[in-house]
């Protein structure tokens, strides 16, 4: 598996994400520059977290116009794997590769902490190494992670099994308290209909070494690396 980590101006989890794939998971990993038009034959494009373009206007809103995003769009349409983490998720929403939008966290504060998320669908390319119902401990760090979709859209997402992660408590219960940013249906991560594009607010690259408190995020990397 060859991974490509996209660097936008203002991305700041790009190094961390690169490190997780390249150094922790020992996978061939390359940089993809936002101004380029080449995806360098990668098997999976990763849009990292951060504050692309300062998150001015709206999170992810400006990055979506980067030249490279045309390629990403075509790549995704052909079934290529695309993972968006945090700001990368927001970019995918703005690009329309994933449904919905992000609102400001319900308490209107930036929130950085470990959370528990429940794996809702272990039959995706991103999660097949995990178990449905499994609880992962992974950090979040965002201001705009309050997931929103209009009712019909939400219904469709649920009906298709596109929801991959929901905020939960340590036992996997979906409580209001555990839904730290106020997301609709507690959605923390979802795929597109085809299942080849996933966005998630929690940062798996921050949970890939026990040294840093958790290695639960590796489930996602390991799923990507091994075939179905």
């Amino acid at each position: 598996m060859k991974f490509g980590v996209v660097a936008f101006p203002g991305s700041n989890c790009d190094f961390d994400t690169f490190y997780a794939f390249h150094d922790v998971m020992k996978q061939p990993t390359v940089w993809l520059w936002h101004k380029d038009h080449s995806l360098k034959d990668v098997d999976c494009v990763v849009l990292p977290g951060g504050f692309s373009y300062g998150d001015y206007l709206r999170s992810g809103a400006i990055a979506r116009f980067s030249p490279l995003m045309q390629e990403v769009r075509e790549f995704a349409a052909k079934g290529g794997l695309v993972l968006g983490i945090c700001n990368g998720f927001q970019v995918l929403l703005e690009l329309g590769l994933l449904p919905g939008a992000m609102l400001r966290n319900q308490h209107l504060k930036f929130l950085c902490r470990f959370v528990s998320i429940r794996l809702e669908n272990a039959r995706t390319r991103f999660t097949h190494k995990g178990r449905t119902g499994q609880v992962l401990r992974i950090p979040i760090a965002h201001f705009d992670g309050n997931y929103f979709a209009p009712p019909e859209m939400l219904e469709e997402i649920e009906a298709n099994g596109q929801v991959v992660f929901r905020y939960a408590d340590a036992e996997g219960r979906l409580t209001e308290e555990a839904n730290v940013n106020g997301s609709l249906h507690g959605i923390a991560g979802l795929t597109n209909r085809m299942g080849n594009v996933m966005g998630m607010m929690p940062h798996p690259e921050r949970a890939s070494e026990t040294l840093l408190g958790s290695a639960d995020g590796r489930v996602i990397f390991e799923s990507l690396i091994s075939r179905f």
Binding site: R58, F65, L103, R104, F148, P150, G182
Partner: protein, 81 residues
């Protein structure tokens, strides 16, 4: 030409910032305030653009860039010819 574009949440979208402002104002004793909605405003200076062109450009950039149509709506006006 100067145009002003107002971008705000659709009515169906909760506006926690507006709510918080409302609460803050109530705490200060401004009880007459029934509702607050918060949005964004852009004032854009367009050079050498006719009215007709502005009528094409402004909705285009509003829809494509300034507002996210899933959650937001926009309105605009010319404030200086």
């Amino acid at each position: 030409m100067k145009v002003r574009i107002l971008v705000s949440f659709k009515d169906s979208v909760l506006d926690p910032q507006g709510q918080t402002v409302k609460n803050a104002l109530h705490t200060l004793g401004y009880d007459a305030i029934r509702d607050v909605r918060q949005g964004k405003v852009f004032e854009i200076d367009l050079a050498g653009v006719s009215r007709a062109e502005a009528e094409k450009i402004v909705p285009e950039i509003s829809d494509k860039v300034l507002a996210n149509p899933i959650i937001e709506k926009f309105a605009w006006q010319i404030i200086e010819e």
